[in-house]
Symmetry: C2
Subunit: 310 residues, 2 copies
């Protein structure tokens, strides 16, 4: 029934089998508008195609159309990335992949070495859209040098200033405010993962915390000493970190900002309080990307989309 062993059928094979030219095959298979093919011919082609178990070769297609049908998710990775940092990326990657897949893109996922981010893949594979996660300022400096302009690129959770790039990230400020008013007591300390270190700085200022009261977590064992020093209540970013903290401090003493996209994790901490964000980071990124495709002249309304707490 299927000659899975043999070589793959091409349009040429179909053309031969259906007694037409490859052009006609292409017209039929792609439902090319503007070409009017009689139902009879059309059916012959279709039949031949399924008979031969035809599957198009997308590399060939990409070559002649100038579109790969590929979307890229590029993740900037620190050499010593911690498990809670990794875990914080995945829900987004996951959601983004589904979204893109359901839109008909094929998704390529690639880790970037933060020390030497290599974005050649964008040009090599002619990616139609690119999402960069956790890129740092100087990572982007590297990029902007020679990368194919015209590629819709959006940066997610990336503390960069460069107005050249479109971005989406959490609205940490509003989240922190929500947290402090949820807790009636003032916030006297802050813990954040490195992925939100810019946010940590920003919030430290906002809440007027001295640097000593702000911890940007690098390794797990920094947590206990820091928490032990605390006397007041605080805010913790990243629910995994929040979970870790519960080992050393009563969860009622801090509010977790759910920046890891897995708020359910805190269900296991009774009586803990947390601030969730709207679950639309991936959607926002997508919309940005799409408006980049269309309105490439004017650009989308906002260069930077902030995801609000809910």
């Amino acid at each position: 029934m299927n000659k899975s062993g043999g070589k793959k059928a091409t349009m040429k094979d179909i053309a031969k089998a259906a007694q037409v030219s490859v052009a006609t095959v292409s017209y039929v298979l792609n439902n090319v508008s503007g070409q009017t093919i009689p139902g009879e011919t059309r059916q012959r082609v279709l039949d031949a195609a399924s008979e031969l178990n035809y599957v198009p070769n997308l590399a060939a297609r990409s070559l002649s159309k100038r579109q790969s049908g590929l979307a890229g998710i590029l993740v900037n990775r620190q050499p010593d990335e911690q498990w809670w940092e990794r875990a914080a990326y995945t829900p987004f990657i996951d959601a983004m992949e589904r979204e893109l897949t359901s839109l008909g893109y094929h998704v390529v996922l690639s880790s970037l070495d933060a020390k030497a981010p290599n974005m050649d893949i964008i040009a090599e594979r002619k990616l139609d859209a690119v999402f960069v996660l956790g890129a740092l300022q100087d990572t982007f400096h590297q990029i902007s040098r020679h990368f194919p302009t015209g590629v819709p690129l959006v940066a997610i959770d990336s503390p960069i200033e460069d107005p050249l790039f479109y971005r989406v990230q959490y609205d940490y400020e509003r989240a922190a405010l929500a947290a402090t008013e949820q807790n009636s007591k003032p916030c006297s300390f802050l813990v954040a993962d490195r992925g939100s270190m810019d946010a940590a700085a920003q919030l430290g200022t906002l809440l007027s915390l001295p640097p000593s009261q702000v911890l940007v977590l690098e390794t797990e064992d920094q947590l206990q000493p820091f928490l032990a020093r605390q006397t007041g209540d605080g805010i913790i970013l990243n629910e995994y970190v929040g979970l870790l903290a519960s080992r050393w401090m009563n969860p009622t003493r801090y509010t977790v900002l759910c920046t890891a996209g897995t708020p359910e994790l805190l269900h296991s901490l009774p009586r803990s309080s947390s601030v969730l964000f709207e679950d639309r980071k991936h959607l926002a990124a997508l919309e940005l990307m799409q408006s980049l495709r269309n309105d490439s002249y004017s650009g989308p309304p906002d260069k930077c989309v902030l995801i609000k707490p809910r």
Copy 2:
């Protein structure tokens, strides 16, 4: 400095600039062995290439060599996938992606609709290697019909019998034994996520548990009632589920089999006991894939690799 606006440079452009033919350019750029190019020419080509900011078009390359340089990770998704199930896949995906990326592959990640798994991507993109996660028996039934044989395909965490496919999965049996002897007390109940429902059945038998003592978790709210019924000690698969359980039962009463690849998560549960697995699921999958490439005649030693507890 960079003409990022203009069209991308091709080999032809380099050839022109370096006063050689495209063939020569190809030889130089790919360090083709067997071709001996004088350093002078070579340098001219290299210079021209970097001057023009040349990036190869991999679609074109794929077309003429019969290799895409793409590896696929295909994830079977249930329509009602739960967050702890999702979270259980990601560490593997993550590790696999890095491994493949560092091997020089580009990785395409794709969700399969469990109801209608579409593996066309394998043929369309001419994937050089494929890893399928969480495929069910009948998912594979669909697949084996017409998929390009000769593609190294490895099934991970997939309860399938078909001897056609190579597999890697946890050695649940040994893990359960390790768990029961770690706990001196006997095991009287078992909770598993759906990803390990086959394992659950197998272990249920092994531990001679009546069906009523085995829960395959579908929704979060099934957990509390089940645990409330229990009087003895038990085993829980998936550390996220283990964490959830801690809300309803003292963690000292169960041992968690860390099937989600995130054992650190349990750090937040003091005095809990757990069984870890060797952290080599991705490596095993990779080795299997590589031996599939080479020994395609004999096939690799084992059709099914079991990851042991440690």
